[in-house]
């Protein structure tokens, strides 16, 4: 099986797809920034932001279910934040403390508010990031970053990563297939021999994958030099922003700014 399916881009013709990648990148970061700066327990603002991102998802026609399914990936990390629910020292002044019957712990109202705010911010942000990746082909994201002054070298390395990720991921998958073919997996789900031995086998696979990648990079470099590569990465000329991009960028940027100001006006 080839891993081109790994690509998260969903082809489409919606206005969100057609938007310039630079505008999409800036707006996504701006959206995440707005969510990050919104004060705790500003539920109205979180709701407004969710309405905005839902509208954008619907306009993009990539499917609400798909975005939600991908966004759920960030949820396990919330366990790390769950601990704030338990009486948080700094916020003790406000809100009530509810002792948990039968346990020595207590839950603070402020702590719950803080936890739910973190959930809201994190889920809003990940939806925006999913939408960006689903509506923008990766090469477009790359030149978008280049135009936004991300160091040229990092963008070039990122381009190579993307180009060879699928090649090497296929290779890794073949190696794992070969390992399974050599050593049948017992039905109880446990591998053979000791953990250290299994880890060493996996290590050897990583080692040979490294050697194949390294030698491949030498061949690629030779091929590039043969075609006149001199260490400079050159890109095709970057198109200018269309009026539509300006309108979308300024409109959404202003909306987010107004929401942020409202958030501070209402909740601080």
């Amino acid at each position: 099986m080839h891993l081109h399916a790994l690509d998260t881009y969903q082809p489409g013709e919606s206005p969100v797809h057609r938007l310039d990648p630079r505008v999409k990148l800036v707006l996504t970061v701006l959206f995440i920034l707005t969510a990050a700066l919104t004060p705790d327990r500003a539920w109205l603002i979180f709701g407004l932001l969710e309405a905005l991102i839902l509208a954008a998802i619907l306009a993009s026609q990539v499917g609400l279910g798909l975005v939600q399914k991908r966004s759920a990936l960030a949820l396990p990390f919330l366990l790390a934040a769950l601990t704030v629910v338990f009486a948080r020292p700094g916020d003790m002044g406000e809100g009530r403390i509810l002792p948990l019957p039968g346990t020595p712990w207590a839950v603070s109202e402020a702590g719950i508010g803080r936890f739910l705010s973190i959930v809201a911010r994190s889920y809003l942000s990940v939806q925006a990031a999913v939408l960006l990746a689903a509506t923008t082909p990766f090469p477009d994201l790359l030149w978008g970053m280049r135009a936004l002054k991300v160091p040229r070298l990092l963008v070039a390395v990122g381009g190579f990563l993307y180009r060879y990720l699928f090649v090497l991921a296929d290779e890794a998958r073949r190696m794992m297939q070969a390992r399974e073919a050599r050593s049948a997996v017992p039905s109880n789900g446990r591998g053979g021999r000791s953990i250290a031995w299994r880890a060493r086998v996996t290590g050897a696979m990583a080692g040979s994958l490294f050697l194949r990648a390294y030698e491949r990079s030498e061949r690629i470099w030779a091929a590039m030099v043969a075609r006149g590569y001199d260490g400079e990465v050159r890109v095709l000329s970057i198109p200018t922003l269309r009026p539509m991009d300006w309108r979308a960028g300024i409109g959404w940027g202003l909306t987010l700014t107004v929401i942020l100001i409202a958030a501070y006006g209402l909740y601080k």
């Binding site: 060879y164 090497l168 080692g207």
Partner: protein, 322 residues
Amino acid sequence: MLRSDIFPSPSPLHIPDGFLSMGVLIVCWILSIIGIGVALVRTRRALGERQVPVMGVLAAFIFAAQMLNFTIAGGTSGHFLGAALAAILLGPWAAMLTMTTVIAIQALLFQDGGLLALGGNILNMAVIGPIVAYGFYRGVRTLLGNRRGSTLVAGFVAAWVSIVVAAVACAMELGFSGTSPIGISLPAMAGIHALIGIGEGLITVGALALVLTTRPDLVEAERAPVPAGMRWVWGGLAIAIVLTLLSPLASPHPDGLERVAEDLGFIERAQEPLYEVIPDYVFPGIPNEALATIAAGIVGTLIVYGIAVGLAALFRRREQVA
């Protein structure tokens, strides 16, 4: 297709957006940008025009190698971050850029870690990770001499330390952000990653052993002269110690506990059990709690270093006997 279909479990080290406060984010971004900036200059000098193809394909390698997993027990499996292996095989600067690209693209393409939170994730896994790994690798190798066995021991130590230090940095960022009380998140993250680090160490050793056998020229042997090497050793150790020094300060309300005890006497009872998770982190006999934690941290770091040296000496003796 979901990233999780291919990569077994999302690493708990990738912080999503929404978890870090603006102040922490700004500090992390500044430190990351300084690290990347220096690395950009250094690799240009070292690799020249080979920079892009070599680092690009090896970044793809790190990405693909994270797919490789092995069964630990039942349904859980150990897998691989790669910062230490990259630092050993490519040198610390190229490793920093390679890891930065990997982490950035994981966030952009697969939402594994947030976009704004990239500052923190890059700092933990692409700046601190490779520097500390390379420092410990050089340190253990300098102590052991230039042998096959010592390279492998050094590789294991470097991989383990890089994972644990990255986890500690991650826990502290969450602590400073007020997302997770440091008294809980630090021991939890460090504990879990002390185990995950063993898997990372074993895979790194396996990979190093294979490369040493087939292409020994690729293993960073004598590329850096000794004085420069020692600088890395001290640098790695310094970061590990600075992190432990900062850890007791990571609570945004350092006097919170006392205030709570005064304001609402009954909370004290509720608080206590949570903080008893970490009695080992406080050094007995020192009255000031922060000082005691710092002392415990330094002693802990030195003990880890001592164990590494001891293991190394053992290895050396066995090799001489053989």
